[in-house]
Amino acid sequence: MGGHGTSDQDGEVVATLCGVVERVNKLVYVRTLRARYKPEVGDIIVGRVIEIAPKRWRLEINFSQDAVLMLSSMNLPDGIQRRRTAVDELNMRSIFEENDVICAEVRGFQHDGSLHLQARSQKYGKLERGQLLIVPAYLVKRRKQHFHHLEQYDVDLILGCNGFIWVGEHVVVGENTNMMEDKPSLSAEVENFTPLETRKHICRLANAVRVLSALGFTLTVELIIETAEASVSSNVEINNMLGAEFYVQTAEREAKRRADLLRKRSRGR
């Protein structure tokens, strides 16, 4: 039986995509390698706002269409559950502006085929003070946890299922915006300042992600941290992480890891 990426030609199953043939019992399908992201309900994604339309934001998420985040499917910054008024609609730009990076969850497909998102929790929302990295979507596997707080670096790492990866300064979840406004402006400025150390950590982790994605390794938190740590222990400067030497080092480490894994498995048998 032919699944996705196949077609029937004169009783013969033929591939229509360039990729890897997968078999599940009698079903044959083709998995592409470099195709765009295919959303599934519940996926955590990172996207960029490209347009503000009536009652909704349009987001670029590396899908074949733009995703839609409705004003009604997100928590308002004041945290009160209520009907969205016309005033809210006018103030949409105060929540997200064009080119803002946002984290949200895939809510589902509408009957007309458009993709809807939701951001109904404190952990979703605008991402600030960090770097957005774009990697091929297949490098990010669906896991239980996509938000990671790396305490040792004071950095937040969000692995979006769509291949958008956010590395940014850690923000305390549940921080109320009203609280911020109460503080005097001077301390707010201090609050806005990201320490140099954290910035360096962000850059180091971001470069680790770049190296790993260029090598085509599946991105997991463990691997990213390991790579960043390896760069520290072998005294590789942040700017030298993208040099050929570190690429080779990383690839060799991964090769060794896989060989060890194989050996362990064969011993287990």
Binding site: T16, R34, G113, G216
Partner: protein, 252 residues
Amino acid sequence: MEYVNLLTGFRVDGRRPNEMRQLKGEVGVVARADGSALFEMGNTRVIAAVYGPREVQNKGQQVNSKEALVRCEYRMADFSTGDRRRKPKGDRRSTEISLVIRQTMEASILTHLMPRSQIDIFVQVLQADAGTRAACINAATLALADAGIPMRDIVTSCSAGYLCSTPLLDLNYIEDSAGGPDVTVGILAKMDKVTLLQVTKYHELLLIAASFRTPLVLSSIHTNSITTILHTMCSLVKHFSCHLYPEGHCFL
């Protein structure tokens, strides 16, 4: 001028009449594109980049929301020809070739699988040595396959001409500018269907009607061998993922 040596039967560049130029292909050459390919047929060198399927940019262009919109832009680099010249963007020749490539690719792309989206194909000729049309189609096919876009079949293309009462395959610049009739054929290889057939100097071809079939048959046979190469390349891509660049060298 003598384009085919009467004694040896060799052409100006030393090929036999039914011999193709050296083919070379490389996938994944443009980092930011969804799919890309560099394709060489002898000295003709073409780069193709595919963006999409993505949101339709100009909603007015969308004819049918149930199918993907395919767009194509063909361009020749200023340095691609012997004399360096600024090439205007929307001249007749490039508009025509853009249209031809678009129609050929649209015939093979399964557009109904990607509703409300658009696919952009950009092809640029880096070095023109005749047969750019054919090279562009081959490059575009590779780039589309690289982008993971579902296609009915692989489209392959090749040109052929008729000079010195000999049918010649895959003309080069000297032969092309000799002014003989020539055909460009695009074929859906596995389904064995012709998606493109362009003939120049049709009347001359009719005059030599007896041999009309020969260049056509010639080029269609050899598009099949191009197909094999493209298929091999695709399977190479499969094996090495997209991060290594497989190169398919071949003499035919």
